[in-house]
C-alpha cells in the first residue's frame, strides 16, 4: 500500500501542530470543531452533487437532457435550487404541533450525521472507529425513522400521517434484512469494526471471496437498503401519486430541504456501508497474482476507490428508482418477511458453514 495515500500522517501532523501550540483540552475542542466542519462541508457537497447527479441520471434514463440552463450543463442548478429553498417562506399548518414539526427535520439530519461519522473514507480518514462499527451504524440509522414519524404526525395532515405509518412499518422491518445481510460478511471477518473489515479485504473483496452467499447477501443488502432509505421502488412513504408527498407534504423551504438532503445523505451512507463491507471500502481491486495489475490499481488513491464504489452503488439505486413501479405496502412487507428474511437466515447459516470449513478465499 502506497504510504503517500495514508491520511493518518496528515491527521497526525495536524494533531502535533495543534498540541505544540495549545493545551490538550483546547486540542480536543479544536479537533472536534474541525471534524464537525468537515462533515458539514461533506454534507453540503454531497447534497449538491447527488441532487445534480440524480437529475442528470434520471434525465438520461428518460431520454431527456435534464437541467441545462444554470451554468454549463446545468451544473449550478442545485445551487440555484438551494438558494430558492432558502428564500422560500416556511409555511406551517395552523393546527400543527409546532415543536415537533420543527424538530422532525433535525432528527433526520442528526441521525444521518451520526451515521456518516463512522464511515472509513480512506486509510486513516475515519472520525469514529468503534469496535462495534456496524452495530453503531445500524443503531443510529434506525433513529431517522423517528424524524419521519414525527413529521407525519405533527403536520396534522392525513396524507402525512398515512405516509408516516407506512414508513414506520417499512423501516422497522427492512432494518432486519440490512443488519442480517451485513452479518453474513461479519461471520467471515469476525469483527464489527469497519476499519478491520476493510483491512481484511486487502487481498480481495468479500463479494468475490465469499462465493455465492456473499453475492446473495449483497443483492439482499441492495434491495433492503434501498427500502431503508425510502427510495423508489420502495418510496411508499412519499408515494406522490397516492399521498401527494407523504410525510413531508406540509414542509416547505429550508425544512423541506433538510428532508431532501437527508434522503440523499442516507443514500450515500447505505452505499458507503455496502461498499465498505462487500466491495472492500477504499481497498483497490486486486486480482490474485497479477502483480503488474495490482500495482497499477494501488496507484489510484484509496479515496477514489471509495467514492467510485459508492457512486456505483448510488447509480444502482438510481437505476432501480427510475425503472421500477412502486410496491404496495403489503407487498413490501411480504417481500421482506416471506422472501428476504428467510433467504437471509439460510444464507447466514450457509456462510457460517463456509467459514467453518474455510472454503472462502
Amino acid at each position: 500500500m502506497n504510504a503517500l495515500y495514508d491520511f493518518s500522517y496528515l491527521t497526525g501532523s495536524i494533531h502535533e501542530w495543534l498540541s505544540e501550540r495549545v493545551s490538550p483540552h483546547a486540542v480536543t475542542i479544536v479537533e472536534m470543531i474541525l471534524v464537525g466542519i468537515s462533515f458539514m462541508l461533506l454534507f453540503a457537497i454531497l447534497g449538491i452533487v447527488l441532487v445534480y447527479a440524480e437529475r442528470k441520471v434520471s434525465a438520461f434514463f428518460q431520454q431527456r437532457l435534464g437541467p441545462m440552463r444554470v451554468g454549463k450543463w446545468g451544473t449550478a442548478q442545485t445551487i440555484a435550487d438551494v438558494i430558492k429553498l432558502l428564500l422560500k417562506e416556511p409555511l406551517m399548518n395552523k393546527e400543527a404541533d409546532k415543536f415537533l414539526f420543527n424538530l422532525a427535520p433535525f432528527v433526520i439530519m442528526i441521525a444521518a450525521f451520526m451515521a456518516i461519522a463512522a464511515l472509513p473514507f480512506a486509510k486513516g480518514l475515519q472520525a469514529l472507529d468503534f469496535d462495534i462499527g456496524i452495530l453503531y451504524v445500524a443503531a443510529v440509522s434506525s433513529l431517522g425513522v423517528i424524524g419521519i414519524l414525527l413529521a407525519g404526525w405533527s403536520s396534522n395532515n392525513k396524507y402525512s400521517l398515512i405516509g408516516a405509518m407506512r414508513s414506520g412499518a417499512q423501516i422497522l422491518s427492512y432494518e432486519l434484512s440490512v443488519a442480517l445481510s451485513l452479518l453474513t460478511i461479519v461471520v467471515l471477518t469476525g469483527s464489527l469494526q469497519l476499519s478491520v473489515i476493510v483491512e481484511s479485504q486487502a487481498d480481495g473483496w468479500w463479494i468475490f471471496k465469499g462465493h455465492i452467499p456473499a453475492f446473495i447477501a449483497f443483492i439482499i443488502f441492495l434491495i433492503a437498503s434501498t427500502a431503508e432509505t425510502n427510495r423508489g421502488p420502495f418510496d411508499i412513504a412519499e408515494a406522490e401519486s397516492e399521498l401527494t408527498a407523504g410525510f413531508h407534504t406540509e414542509y416547505s423551504g429550508l425544512k423541506f430541504a433538510f428532508f431532501f438532503l437527508a434522503e440523499f445523505a442516507n443514500m450515500f451512507i447505505v452505499s458507503a456501508i455496502g461498499a465498505t463491507v462487500f466491495l472492500g471500502g477504499w481497498m483497490p481491486l486486486h486480482i490474485g497474482s497479477w502483480e503488474g495489475f495490482n500495482a497499477v490499481m494501488d496507484f489510484i488513491p484509496p479515496i477514489f476507490w471509495f467514492f467510485g464504489k459508492v457512486s456505483f452503488l448510488i447509480f444502482m439505486m438510481m437505476w432501480f428508482r427510475w425503472t421500477f413501479p412502486r410496491l404496495r405496502i403489503d407487498q413490501l412487507l411480504t417481500l421482506e418477511w416471506k422472501y428476504l428474511l428467510p433467504i437471509n437466515l439460510v444464507n447466514i447459516v450457509v456462510m457460517a458453514f463456509l467459514g467453518l470449513m474455510g472454503w472462502h478465499f
Binding site: 434520471s58 428518460q62 418510496d235 408515494a239 397516492e242 401527494t244 427510475w322 425503472t323 410496491l327
Partner: protein, 372 residues
C-alpha cells in the same frame, strides 16, 4: 374481556379528500374516501369541477361549430369525438361522404386511439411509481402528434372533421410519416412489455385488483377496453361499424378476468390491433374529393339522431334533436368516462389506497369527458 378489547380497539373510519387537486386523479376530480387504516370502505366521486356546460353551448352553435366543442371533452380522443358529431349530422342530412373521407377518418381515428393509449400507458406507469414510462409513452406519442399537426394543423384539439368530410385534404407527407411511425412503434411496443407488462412488481400491483364482473360491467354501463377486459363484447367498431371499419380485418380484444391487469392487457393489445388497422388502410386510401359540399348553414330536418362511436375510452354517443333550425334543439353526449367512473366504488371497495390509484389508472379517466 374479548368484548372490551373489541370495543376499546374499535377502529374508526376517517375521510380523506383525494382531489380536486391530486396527482393521480389526472384533473379536477374529487374522491371522498372513507378509510379504515389503508383500506378503502367507500369511494364517493364528486364531479363538476370542470363542468363547462358543453351540451347547453351546443344549443346555440351551428352544426359546424359543435364539432370543435367535442375536442374539449375527451381531449385524448378528440378526433373520434369530432367524427361522432359529423356522422350524426351526416345521418340527419342523409349525406354520403366520399370513400376517401371514410378511410382517412378511420386512419386518423386509430392514430388517435394509439396516441391516447400511449399516454395512458405512460401515466399508468407513473401512477404506479415508474416515472420513466411516462416519458417513453410521450416520446412515442410525439410522432403521432406530429402527424396530426402536419395534416390537421393542431396537436391536441384538431377539429379536422367537418360535417360532410374533412376540413382539408391529408398532407402529402401523411402516408410516409404514418408508415415511419408504424415501423418505429412496432419496435418500441415490446419495450412497453419489458418495462411494465412483465415486471413482477407491476403484475403484483395489478393482477386480481379491482375486479369487475361482466354482469357488473353491463349494469354500470362500463364500455370500452375497461368492459372488454371483463368479457363484455361491446366494441362499436365491430358491432355497429361506421366509417371504414367494415372494410378492415381486426379482432375485438377480449379478456375475461376483469382485473386491472386484464384492462391493461386489453389496451396494449388494442394498440397492436390499431397498428394493423392502419397498416391495412394506409396504402389503400382511395382517390377522390375530401368533402361532400354542404350548405354554409346546415339545417337538419326535424327529428332525432343518435350516433355512437368507439373512442379510446369506450362508447361515445351523440344524440341530436333538431327542430329544423340551424341550431340543434338539444344535444346529449353519452361520454364513456362518466359511466366508467360510476363503477369505481364497486371496484375499489375494500382495496388499499395504492390499489385505488391502479384502478383509476386502468379506467383511464379523462375528467373533462366526465364533466363536459
Amino acid at each position: 374481556m374479548e368484548e372490551i378489547i373489541t370495543k376499546e380497539l374499535e377502529s374508526q373510519e376517517y375521510f380523506i379528500n383525494m382531489g380536486p387537486q391530486h396527482p393521480s386523479t389526472h384533473g379536477v376530480l374529487r374522491l371522498v374516501l372513507s378509510l379504515d387504516g389503508e383500506i378503502i370502505r367507500n369511494v364517493e366521486p364528486h364531479i363538476g369541477y370542470i363542468h363547462r356546460s358543453i351540451e347547453k353551448m351546443c344549443e346555440h352553435d351551428s352544426y359546424q361549430q359543435i364539432v370543435h366543442l367535442t375536442d374539449r371533452m375527451d381531449y385524448l380522443s378528440c378526433h373520434i369525438n369530432n367524427e361522432a358529431v359529423c356522422l350524426a349530422v351526416e345521418m340527419g342530412l342523409q349525406l354520403e361522404v366520399p370513400e376517401r373521407v371514410k378511410v382517412i377518418r378511420t386512419i386518423i381515428g386509430e392514430l388517435t386511439r394509439l396516441s391516447s393509449h400511449q399516454l395512458w400507458w405512460g401515466v399508468m406507469g407513473m401512477d404506479l411509481g415508474a416515472i420513466t414510462t411516462f416519458l417513453y409513452g410521450f416520446r412515442d406519442r410525439e410522432m403521432i402528434t406530429d402527424i396530426f399537426e402536419e395534416t390537421c394543423g393542431a396537436r391536441l384539439t384538431m377539429n379536422y372533421n367537418v360535417p360532410g368530410g374533412l376540413m382539408f385534404d391529408i398532407h402529402p407527407n401523411f402516408q410516409k410519416r404514418t408508415k415511419d411511425f408504424i415501423a418505429h412503434f412496432k419496435k418500441k411496443l415490446p419495450e412497453y412489455d419489458d418495462l411494465l407488462s412483465n415486471n413482477v412488481i407491476f403484475r403484483n400491483r395489478t393482477i386480481g385488483i379491482g375486479k369487475l364482473s361482466k354482469e357488473d360491467a353491463i349494469s354500470y354501463g362500463v364500455t370500452g377496453p375497461s368492459a372488454r377486459a371483463s368479457g363484455f363484447s361491446c366494441d362499436v367498431r365491430k358491432h355497429y361499424p361506421y366509417s371504414a371499419y367494415d372494410k378492415v380485418q381486426f379482432k375485438e380484444v377480449l379478456r375475461s378476468e376483469g382485473d386491472c391487469y386484464a384492462r391493461y392487457e386489453c389496451r396494449i393489445d388494442e394498440m397492436w390491433e390499431s397498428l394493423s388497422i392502419i397498416e391495412q388502410l394506409i396504402d389503400n386510401i382511395p382517390e377522390g374529393p375530401f368533402k361532400t359540399p354542404t350548405k354554409a348553414v346546415i339545417k337538419l330536418p326535424k327529428g332525432e339522431w343518435y350516433q355512437k362511436v368507439e373512442t379510446a375510452r369506450g362508447e361515445f354517443g351523440v344524440y341530436i334533436i333538431s327542430e329544423g333550425q340551424k341550431n340543434p334543439y338539444r344535444v346529449k353526449f353519452r361520454s364513456p368516462g362518466f359511466s366508467n367512473l360510476s363503477a369505481l366504488n364497486h371496484m375499489a371497495k375494500d382495496s388499499k389506497i395504492a390499489d385505488l390509484v391502479a384502478i383509476m389508472s386502468t379506467l383511464d379517466l379523462v375528467i373533462p369527458d366526465i364533466d363536459r
